[in-house]
Symmetry: D2
Subunit: 261 residues, 4 copies
């Protein structure tokens, strides 16, 4: 009885395979003498976790940690003295602004691999030029800088403009909006790996979309961001805070969230 059922089932598989096979790509050429059945390459376990996406692109999904939603800077502290609150200014319950000279700010929580979303706008009043205009930056693991700059009609060295991995990789294109508009960075960041003896195992990598346009395509990050000299990975480290740089310009920020990967 059971065998009969098995045979019927088997025939069904063969037929199904033929029908579906036409809809999908054709079956492979002779790679194995004994053909498989479709079910042999179906993986059911474990079930994929459900995440509710944000209402529109850029909104945080259900599993994101909200780092800033307009209301407060509770997720941030002073970079100079992490025991003190973040010294920057919230505006209109909507965004916050660098207070020049107050120093950078850092997340309270530490992160490694992550999907990160941030929105920023250069100061409304255009002043300065090259690196002097709208300069700030996102430091992943407090070390590796994704540059923020007002790169709208503002030439500087290519590996120092908005969207560059500072002094490491120029962005693929310049997708910067004007200082009166908001920009987004959507980042997929992979932390560096270190061996037990402290040596680098694999470099950090980063992919960045700037206003939805790909500007960094899974590039290696060649080490800690230095203003002078070659970048390197001088010592092992684990998860660390994300910092925003005070470079003396009133850059604005809003809608910051992160997902651990």
């Amino acid at each position: 009885m059971k065998l009969m059922k098995l045979s019927v089932l088997f025939m069904t598989f063969i037929l199904a395979a033929q029908v579906y096979g036409q809809k999908h790509s054709s079956t492979p050429p002779e790679v194995s003498p004994m053909p498989m059945k479709p079910e042999m390459t179906e993986i059911w376990e474990p079930e994929v976790r459900v995440v509710t996406p944000g209402k529109k692109l850029g909104d945080p999904p259900s599993d994101a940690i909200i780092l800033f939603d307009g209301s407060n800077l509770d997720q941030w502290v002073s970079q100079k003295d992490p025991s003190k609150p973040a010294p920057w200014k919230i505006v209109d319950n909507d965004h916050f602004e660098v207070v020049p000279g107050s120093g950078g700010i850092s997340t309270k929580m530490k992160f490694g691999d992550c999907q990160f979303h941030i929105e920023f706008s250069a100061p409304d009043k255009v002043e300065g030029e090259s690196q002097g205009r709208g300069n700030s930056g996102v430091f992943f693991q407090n070390r590796y800088e994704l540059q923020i700059l007002d790169s709208y009609n503002n030439r500087t060295y290519r590996n120092g403009q908005a969207g560059s991995i500072y002094k490491d990789h120029a962005p693929l294109v310049n997708a910067m909006r004007s200082p009166l508009e908001w920009n987004t960075y959507d980042v997929i960041y992979r932390a560096p790996r270190f061996k037990e003896n402290g040596e680098l195992d694999t470099k950090a990598t980063i992919t960045v979309l700037h206003n939805g346009v790909l500007i960094q395509n899974n590039v290696d990050i060649n080490g800690i961001t230095y203003y002078i000299g070659l970048h390197n990975y001088p010592e092992a480290h684990g998860e660390d805070v994300i910092s925003l740089q005070d470079h003396g310009n009133k850059t604005q920020f809003r809608n910051i969230w992160i997902r651990r990967l």
Copy 2:
């Protein structure tokens, strides 16, 4: 005279380095006995190309090729017979819909490495289950399938649900919206490379954001998508069309654009 100026310039550099150095990360430990100057790691040429981003996330940037904007299917042909127009139906000058049984559709143009954006919605009326519900797919280079399915409250094998590289990689999470809503895929696709003798050199890779949520993180694509058996790269190929699958369900599509990388 010139020397005096040089020395002043030099002092300025040193001072500038010290000031800026504090704002950025500190200078590296002893990696080279002779220190550099900041300008030595500034790359100015060539200037980075400007791209105007779309008005909001999901909108095509200025250098995108528009594959569908609601008006017509002029960029598409019948997959079965590329000399014939795409046999699917435009609705409300807004989106188009699979005409079940008419066969898939393909782009007229061929593509390799690309950033690709597409929006899709499962049929409004929920029918069937598992692979039978809202099934379609995007075939990069007419071979490698990013699965489209109604995976909202619809369990199937994990490597066959929405956002999977079909029978290759399950999505990291299930970020599917309900059939009454629109979904987005934002894809960074790298084509496989082949050697002159036809052998595979490097596999294709893919990164996918589903409704803004990372679901494929730079994974290798292990070969042509087969319904039965192991995937492989049986022969070399160049750029090729992108196809959308007719799997018998009235899946809807809108706002499709692509950027060559």
Copy 3:
């Protein structure tokens, strides 16, 4: 005065650069507006550790752990019961031989990334065919098999012959010697990495030279070696023993050493 000296020094650098530049490749095109000096890309620290190589190729260098030098099996235990000695037979104080039916043997020590050297010879008397002739194998981390087989005039499936990563990667070429001769495998093995949550981070990779001929070129190992079905990485693990397989044939082994990487 100092300035004068500086300028002379500077001229000397420029001249030196020109002279040396001719001996090496030419200097780069305009990548940075301010040229470097040669010393700026010289890294002196830390000094590179000295290793005394073996007398001839195949001999163990000074930092190798000797796993077998002809004298004893003290570095090995029974795979079935690691509390028991390795049940295989030393011959002529030169090599050892599988004792069919006694089970595999494993190293006492555990290893991860390594450079590994082993010599082996198929049974002198040729019996059986395909997988039945001279079958054994090296299991890195007790899981990932580099196949040993008598592949001299003995056809089998390509991903199961000598030098294959069993049922994963066929060797690039068949460099097997006759059963009356000794073969060498020189292996560069990189262990898989796992995330803290137990998921695979990066696959193991392997490079193999068979009798000095490259047969595996830094390929990914796709998971635990299974005789049936698809390979995978079901769970995280650390360093583990290296095992040699008892597959019922009297394969011979000698000169086994390993360097931790």
Copy 4:
């Protein structure tokens, strides 16, 4: 009847799987609901090409191109003027020696990906220090230098000693023999890939064994070897000659062969 046979066959498979499963690793956990049979993962075609290895390690295998076997320099030309013969000196029908001041030599044939073997010895009479002692180098594709130096009891900058990718990667260890002995380099070289628009696609990579000891482990080569400044890939190129450097020292060479990969 057929069904009965099928069921018997099926039982046989199950049993076989159990028996073989013990000899190999165990079967995988629940990755697919329908188990495979062993034959389904056996790939038979195409048959792997046979190569006869050299008699001992270091000897050229049957598919190698012999670049020097002691008899003549017919495979080499002057680097300065490729229309002229290689200006170096053959000694004792065994090896050849740099003629300082005559310029480098290059292969007549061009190569890309390859397995490369070379033997070299520093000048017998020890003179000079640091970069001045026994300096030469192998330039893959006439651009990327694997350094040759007398690094036996001769400190220099780590990324410039024997076995370094010059001013790019220091060797993992210093496995240099004395000037009265011969050294071997066994190299696995992968050429850089370029896109059609001339941009770099993937960097070159290299693995080097120095006297059988791993000194470069599949590292990226970061561009053309420059004596001054940062290395880069300024333009696309195809296969190219391999050159040996005249750096003013009487370095000796013998037994050079290459296999295209």
